[in-house]
Symmetry: C2
Subunit: 101 residues, 2 copies
Amino acid sequence: YTETGKASFYSSKLEGRKMANGDKYRPGKLTAAHKTLPFGTRLKVTNLDTKKSVKVKVTDRGPFSPGRVVDLSYKAADKVDMIKAGVAPVKIKVIGKKKES
Amino acid sequence: YTETGKASFYSSKLEGRKMANGDKYRPGKLTAAHKTLPFGTRLKVTNLDTKKSVKVKVTDRGPFSPGRVVDLSYKAADKVDMIKAGVAPVKIKVIGKKKES
């Protein structure tokens, strides 16, 4: 399964907030929000502008703005170099599912 | 006082969260986050891409990403047509100060 669209990233204001899977959002972890994929799904997210990619785990629901397919944690957004742009075109690919710990 | 830079807008996940001025974030109000201007400061924010502007009240602190000068509430971001873009170049101008109610 692959999907393309735009990625945004979590506001620093969300640090410590409970995500939809029950864990608290931590900016330094490699997590993502997706509207429908099960929690624990592993995604490879590639920034089509920078060609950089990162592997993340789905832990939350969102994003709810038109055209957005994924919200990345701060660390994941930094790894694909989209902090300055704020929003970036991405391709997401499901690479596996890990049981929630 | 005027300033130019990029604007982003609040995640819908922040609805109900307490802002730095003590009020809860409401997506339907015309509010903004700025790093230093006093709470209650009135700003005119103009989207330099769409030329649309909106008047907002500073109620929160942020944004903390490089190059960002203001974070707009959902309604304010909608009024300047930046929901789809996610981030937009803006000019902000202080137009007055209203006492916090």
